[in-house]
C-alpha cells in the first residue's frame, strides 16, 4: 500500500491554493479536513475525494446492471447485482424498479412492457432516485441503457438488431426489447 494511503480519521494534507470542494471519502470537523475512508486522496479538478473500489449501494446517477425478476404492465422489478462497475458479493443484491414511464425517452405513452423486457433479461440502467423503502428507481431512457443480454424463446443468446429489436441466431426470429446500444458502435 502506498505511503500516502490514509486511514479514517487521519488529517488530509491539503495543498495551498484555492479552497477545495470536498467529494466522498473525506469530511471536515472543527475546520480540519480528514479522511473517512482507507485510501489515497485524489484530486479531480478542484474536488478532493478518496475512492475505494468496493461493492457499495446504488446512489442517484449510479450505473447499475441487474436481471429482471418480475414484470407487470406498470413496472419491471430488477435484482441489481453490479453497481458502478463493481459486482456485489454473491447472494447480495439490491432491488430496483423500472417504471413504465422511465423506459424510453420518446413516445412514453405508447410503451408496452412486454415489448421492452422479459423475465431473466440482463438490463443496464441509471439510478434516478433512492425510491421507496423497497426499491431504487431506475431509468433506461438513454441510448446506452436497456437490455444488454437476453435469451430467446428458443434458448439462444440474442443479438441486438435495433434499439427495439433483438434476433435469435438459432431460429432467426426477432423479438422486441428495449436494447442498449452496444459499446463501440
Amino acid at each position: 500500500m502506498p505511503s500516502d494511503c490514509l486511514i479514517p480519521g487521519q488529517p488530509v494534507p491539503l495543498p495551498r491554493g484555492p479552497t477545495l470542494q470536498l467529494g466522498s471519502g473525506v469530511y471536515t470537523r472543527n475546520g480540519e479536513t480528514r479522511a473517512s475512508l482507507l485510501g489515497t486522496p485524489q484530486f479531480h479538478g478542484s474536488t478532493l475525494s478518496i475512492h475505494r473500489v468496493k461493492p457499495h449501494p446504488p446512489a442517484p446517477n449510479s450505473v447499475v446492471v441487474g436481471s429482471v425478476t418480475r414484470l407487470s404492465p406498470q413496472q419491471a422489478v430488477v435484482s441489481i447485482t453490479v453497481v458502478d462497475g463493481v459486482p456485489l458479493p454473491p447472494g447480495e443484491d439490491f432491488t430496483g424498479v423500472i417504471r413504465v414511464q422511465d423506459i424510453r425517452a420518446t413516445e412514453k405513452d405508447k410503451v408496452r412492457m412486454g415489448d421492452c423486457f422479459r423475465g431473466g433479461d440482463v438490463v443496464k440502467g441509471l439510478v434516478i432516485s433512492l425510491g421507496d423503502a423497497r426499491s431504487y428507481y431506475i431509468t433506461t431512457a438513454r441510448n446506452d441503457l436497456g437490455v444488454i443480454f437476453a435469451t430467446s424463446e428458443a434458448g439462444g443468446t440474442m443479438e441486438p438488431v435495433s434499439w427495439q429489436e433483438m434476433r435469435c441466431p438459432k431460429t432467426g426470429k426477432v423479438e422486441k426489447r428495449k436494447c442498449a446500444k452496444p459499446e463501440g458502435l
Binding site: 486511514i7 469530511y27 480528514r34
Partner: protein, 261 residues
C-alpha cells in the same frame, strides 16, 4: 451445568450434563494467581501492560471486510457485510448498524449451550455503542451494515469486548464504510488500589470493579464508557485516562495492520 432442552435443529446429547468437579475442590484452576493476596503486585505483566495484539485483515474474501484478532488466549474473528439493502418496511434516511456476537460453545471453560441468550445480546450492544458514533451512517440511506463477530476463545469477558470492538472497526475500514475515525477499546480492572489494563479471566475475578472504554484516538474523543462493580470516582477517572492512553498504542497497531494490504 448444561441443561439443554431438546433442540430439534441440532444433534442432541443427554438432557442433563455437568461440568467435571476436580479433586482439588477448586472450580477453576488458578495457575497464575495461586496464593496471591490482595495488595500484591500483578503477576507476569505490569499494571499498564496489555497483551500483545496480533491483527490480520481480509481473511474472509467473500465479506466486504474482515479481521482476525488474537491477544494471547483471546481469539476473535469478525466479518462485515454490506452496506446491504435494509429489509425494513420503512424508509430510513440514515443507515443502520447491526452487530451480532456469537460465542463458540468451547470458547470458555464452562461450555456455552448454543442458544442465543441475553449475554450475547448485551455484548453486541456494547460493541454497537462503541462503533455507532464513528460510522457516517448519513451516507448510507436505506442500507444496513451487518457486523458479525465470532468469539473462538475468551480470556476475560471485558477484554474480549474490547478486542471485538477493535476487530469490528478494522473490518469496517477494510470494507470501505465511511467513518469519522477508527475505534479502539481497552478494559481496565480495579484490583485493590491498582488498575490493571487488559485483564484476563483470572484477573477479572480478582477485581472489585471494571471499566471498559472505547475511543477514536485520531479525534481525541471517547465513544463509549462502561463501568461495572465497585469503583471510586477518582479510580474510575484514573482508569479512563490509562485506558485512553493505551488506546493510542492500539490505534497504531490497527493502522499498521490496515496498511499491510
Amino acid at each position: 451445568m448444561a441443561q439443554s432442552g431438546f433442540d430439534r435443529r441440532r444433534v442432541n446429547g443427554p438432557s442433563e450434563s455437568f461440568q467435571p468437579t476436580f479433586d482439588d475442590g477448586l472450580e477453576e484452576s488458578s495457575d497464575l494467581y495461586d496464593n496471591w493476596k490482595l495488595g500484591e503486585a500483578r503477576r507476569k505483566r505490569h499494571p499498564g501492560d496489555i497483551r500483545p495484539i496480533f491483527l490480520q485483515t481480509g481473511f474472509i474474501k467473500q465479506a466486504n471486510g474482515s479481521a482476525y484478532i488474537e491477544t494471547e488466549r483471546t481469539k476473535i474473528a469478525c466479518a462485515v457485510y454490506g452496506p446491504r439493502q435494509s429489509k425494513s418496511s420503512s424508509y430510513h434516511e440514515t443507515g443502520r448498524l447491526s452487530v451480532e456476537v456469537k460465542f463458540a460453545p468451547f470458547s470458555s471453560l464452562v461450555r456455552k449451550v448454543p442458544i442465543r441468550d441475553a449475554e450475547d445480546r448485551s455484548i453486541a450492544n456494547l460493541v454497537h455503542q462503541a462503533l455507532a458514533s464513528s460510522v457516517r451512517l448519513d451516507t448510507l440511506p436505506k442500507s444496513v451494515i451487518d457486523i458479525f463477530v465470532t468469539v473462538i476463545e475468551c480470556d476475560g469477558i471485558e477484554s474480549c469486548v474490547a478486542a471485538a470492538t477493535v476487530a469490528a472497526s478494522t473490518s469496517l475500514a477494510k470494507a470501505g464504510v465511511e467513518m469519522l475515525g477508527l475505534v479502539v477499546s481497552c478494559a481496565g480492572a480495579v484490583v485493590g488500589e491498582d488498575v490493571w489494563l487488559d485483564p484476563n479471566e483470572e484477573e477479572a475475578r480478582l477485581a472489585s470493579g471494571m471499566l471498559l472504554c472505547a475511543c477514536m484516538p485520531a479525534l481525541g474523543v471517547t465513544t463509549s464508557v462502561w463501568q461495572t462493580g465497585r469503583v471510586l470516582p477518582a479510580k474510575a477517572l484514573l482508569s479512563l485516562q490509562l485506558c485512553q492512553d493505551r488506546c493510542s498504542d492500539i490505534h497504531q497497531i490497527v493502522a499498521l495492520a490496515l496498511h499491510e494490504d
